[in-house]
Assembly symmetry: C2
Homo-oligomer: 562 residues x 2
């Protein structure tokens, strides 16, 4: 066996508490190199006549990617503590793998084994229960609907009559959202993610001026309360966007710093590299990227931290919002996020915390910081295959398998699965207007572990390139909406609701991926769903489906049992 | 190249902030499989004409074990953020390895690379500065010295005239420690780790009755204050032992639970599995191991947490102690330890927090919980070779190399390196009285990254098997002390002080390990120390030392430059 390929390290995706009783264990081996893996485990203190009392349990091959096989099992240790190792076999040899390395004979000393010292409930990663049954809808408020022209910003353009530009306004607002909740209810979504709504200068509002005020172009706090109430009445959760990494240029403390320099009482609110403050050629203070107008906030400063934690609290306490989406979350310190979680969950334990992180996010998903991150690795796997056509179904399946095994299952169940956003071109555009491919992407997105999100307008076939192209005004003229896509999504959402195996209660694993066809299964104890997605240009026949007489078609082409 | 052997994942020992400016990067490859590794890195937002501005830097092979080569480099990213990948070469091919896998050509999209999103100073692992220059001395107070017979426990035995038993007493106390501080000063140690001193029934005091009282057999709070003062005057730090995982049987809340069962106001202070409370055959509540007399405390209960945090604070605030050693630290929840750190460091930022963990401890050493753990993997590597003689020098060097690369450098610098304790047989006994081997172990221990600890009495050649054998009364009769060992240790300690490369300012790496001889180097910018340790039974000659004319002997056999 290829020892160098074998990997395990506890307290991350390889060994974690799935719930307050259950541990999940995983092992990575070289692909097709190991025939079977057995977990050896026991209570560290369970000895009889000087012999450790261990048990054995076969592990399941839960997935493979291009390089590795992944083995998984789950155990409920009666005293919530465990020592363990792995017994591996191939045709010619057997090995025992533990924290101390490889052995030909099973070690007798429990100190040599891996340790999961104690399953403390408070450390278990646990997102709010409602999240995994949520289908999200992302709204960019300036462009969703104009319901109140009396508060339109100066120079507002007639709805949809001009292409979106970086600095134009069309007057979208809260009343517009309230007016169109029927559209969302009909679609079946039950969570709205709003990009920022706080006072700001731009149309996207990521340049916060005041974290405690609503931008007047969207409405007042009373209207916002009505909006939340209307959503809650329809069973729709509401998530806001928190831009805590940096403020806007017109944020008062930053203006004070610009004006008073070293004498500003806010000089430690930012990361000033040198005085006097310069904005060009390069800013003399840390920023988001190199944007002089986006000064990075010093979240290590107790005053700033206290201020932002108050902001986090305020909108939960006063407006009963259900989630915070955290912009540029990985550039802020972990200590801040731990205190943020503690602060907001104290007020509302069922609040959802979603970090914007594009990369591997295990350090933020240990139960002490976020409930989820925006699942861009899923996004890119799907887009690379279906839209960009740069990877085969095999590679897409490999990447998704690897992704699923790089996080705990309870993390995967609440991942925020998006295919597009205000930061990316729209999926229909990326797919070169191939609606059939868009549908296949939706099918995979909606049945993949996690919670899917629809970017406003995608459900009615809107198109658009990179920002600002993807921020066009929502089309409300029914005759211009693509109702075929809407109906398709409506049906997917309804399937998630009516079949728990379709949604997040079903386990997910790939059966095969070849010739442009992926085949995967989702299972609960009562139901097995088989998915067949053909993204090739031709009709494909799939063998060995081994369907039973009870098999019925749920969606798409009818299949006949053999 | 063996792709499956190549491993990197950020935010642990493979990529971490060494200090507020510096990132360390490591890569693991199959042993002898890769000729060179180059880091490709740059600021994520540094683009010119749509091309990412990256840099390249050769990585150093900083160690190898039986299976892997470890490559290391360090970077100071000017804007404290970085995207990076690795360029690997062997004779026949080259590869680029990033978060998204392997490429033959360097990817253009920074999203494909690994990310160290931002170096936030507050997240940097940072132990107190004084720790890395500390040499510890562990005192088991009941057995160190009896300085005040007026407070001897009932049934006390004459000092050293009986073998130690699990339940006998010899009357050791604080006054005894005060009386013998000269011994410690002469030896040169500058930190004392006391096993528990709080009110308890046993001689070891791990069965706490009252966390806020000193056990009367040791003295009163006034004497303890004098002891601390006397230590501080000599530049000696004092660390106490906190047994927070479980209480003693006679801890009042537990007694209340035994008495009142379900009606006890302390019923949620413990983890009761079922009422009525039973202590046998198995306790009906969680315990340390299966010891009915050691009920596990429910540290998730806010009342218990508050109580224990107060305890943590009290001894720092009132007595100015310098460190807390945390018993059975890994069975308590991470949340508790995060709050513990915050609480005690708020009072005394320079306090040292040392966890008792025998296994891989990365999850506790991320900067938010402990400053160090007891380095038992080092202990066992040395003992297995020098004492048990079950492994060769090659295997010992492999294990130590693997250990050093499994933690960040700043973690290694403050590891608590022990060769014996109240929990293990004494090293001279383990080494079958081979004093020469004991000396070699000390040499390696004292020059290994971390802070060495001497178990009381080991410095004068005391012997003893497993508990209770290793807890004999300290021998104060000079004629019965082994002064050769004392002098040897005194010299090692003095070398650590006079040569910064000997201590924790020197980088450490193995040059070779064969025929019973290990050769390693410690370097600073001004000095290089070469260590040669021959644990074989015969004289060995070592070739290719490539010594310069300026080479001098610091210790041991004189060597002649060629
Ligand atoms: Ca309006
Ligand atoms: Ca005494």
């Amino acid at each position: 066996m290829q020892k160098e390929a074998i990997y395990h390290r506890p307290k991350n995706n390889f060994a974690y508490a799935y719930d307050e009783r259950t541990l999940h264990l995983r092992l990575k081996t070289k692909k097709d190199d190991t025939l079977s893996v057995t977990l050896i485990y026991g209570d560290p203190y369970d000895w009889k006549d000087n012999v450790w009392q261990y048990h054995k349990q076969k592990m399941l091959l839960t997935g493979s990617d291009d390089l590795f096989d992944y083995w998984t099992t789950s155990v409920e240790p009666p005293y919530r503590r465990m020592r363990y190792g792995f017994y591996l076999e191939d045709e010619s040899e057997s090995l025992v793998y533990t924290e101390k390395g490889f052995f030909t004979e099973q070690p007798l000393d429990t100190n040599d084994y891996f340790s999961f010292p104690f399953l403390n409930e408070i450390d278990v990663f646990k997102a709010p229960d409602w999240v995994k049954d949520t289908v999200w809808y992302q709204i960019f408020p300036e462009r969703f609907a104009n319901g109140d022209s009396s508060i339109d910003p100066k120079g507002v353009l007639p709805w949809g009559e001009y292409p979106p530009a970086r600095d134009n306004f069309f007057g979208g607002d809260f009343q517009g959202v309230i007016d169109h909740l029927d559209h969302l209810t009909e679609l079946g979504i039950n969570g709205i993610y709003f990009t920022p709504i706080f006072k700001a200068k731009s149309n996207h509002k990521y340049d916060t001026i005041d974290y405690l005020e609503i931008d007047p172009q969207f409405g007042d706090k009373e209207t916002f309360k009505q909006l939340i109430k209307a959503c809650h009445e329809r069973g729709i959760k509401v998530m806001l966007d928190a831009v805590f990494n940096h403020s806007g240029y017109y944020f008062e403390p930053f203006q004070d710093l610009l004006k008073n320099g070293e004498d500003s009482k806010y000089k430690d609110w930012f990361h000033v590299r040198s005085f006097p403050i310069e904005t060009k050629p390069l800013p003399s203070y840390d920023t988001f990227a190199f944007e002089a107008s986006m000064p990075k906030l010093n979240t290590e400063n107790p005053e700033v931290k206290e201020y932002l934690l108050q902001v986090g609290k305020y909108w939960v306490e006063e407006f009963d919002i259900d989630g915070w989406r955290l912009d540029v979350a990985n550039e802020i310190d972990h200590q801040f996020w731990r205190d943020f979680r503690r602060t907001v969950k104290q007020i509302k334990p069922e609040l959802y915390i979603l970090g914007e992180i594009w990369h591997d996010s295990m350090p933020w998903l240990q139960g002490d910081q976020f409930d989820a991150v925006m699942n861009y690795p899923m996004t890119s796997a799907l887009l690379d295959h279906f839209a960009h056509e740069t990877i085969s179904v095999e590679t897409m399946a490999d990447r998704l398998t690897s992704l699923l095994h790089s996080y705990p299952d309870n993390v995967n169940e609440v991942a925020f699965n998006l295919l597009g956003s205000h930061d990316t071109p729209r999926m229909l555009t990326l797919a070169n207007d191939r609606k059939d491919l868009v549908k296949l992407m939706y099918m995979l997105q909606f049945s993949f572990p996690g919670t899917p999100c629809i970017y406003y307008g995608d459900e009615i076939g809107m198109k658009g390139g990179a920002d600002p192209g993807c921020r066009e005004c929502m089309i409300w003229d029914k005759t211009e909406q693509d109702t075929e896509l809407f109906d398709f999504l409506e049906e997917l959402i309804s399937l998630r609701k009516s079949h728990s195996a379709f949604g997040n209660s079903g386990s997910f694993h790939f059966v095969s991926a070849k010739d442009g066809v992926i085949q995967y299964k989702k299972e609960t104890t009562t139901e097995t769903l088989l998915f067949l997605i053909n993204s090739s240009e031709v009709i494909q026949s799939v063998e060995d489906l081994s369907l039973s007489n009870e098999t019925t078609s749920l969606f798409g082409n009818k299949i006949k049992p053999n």
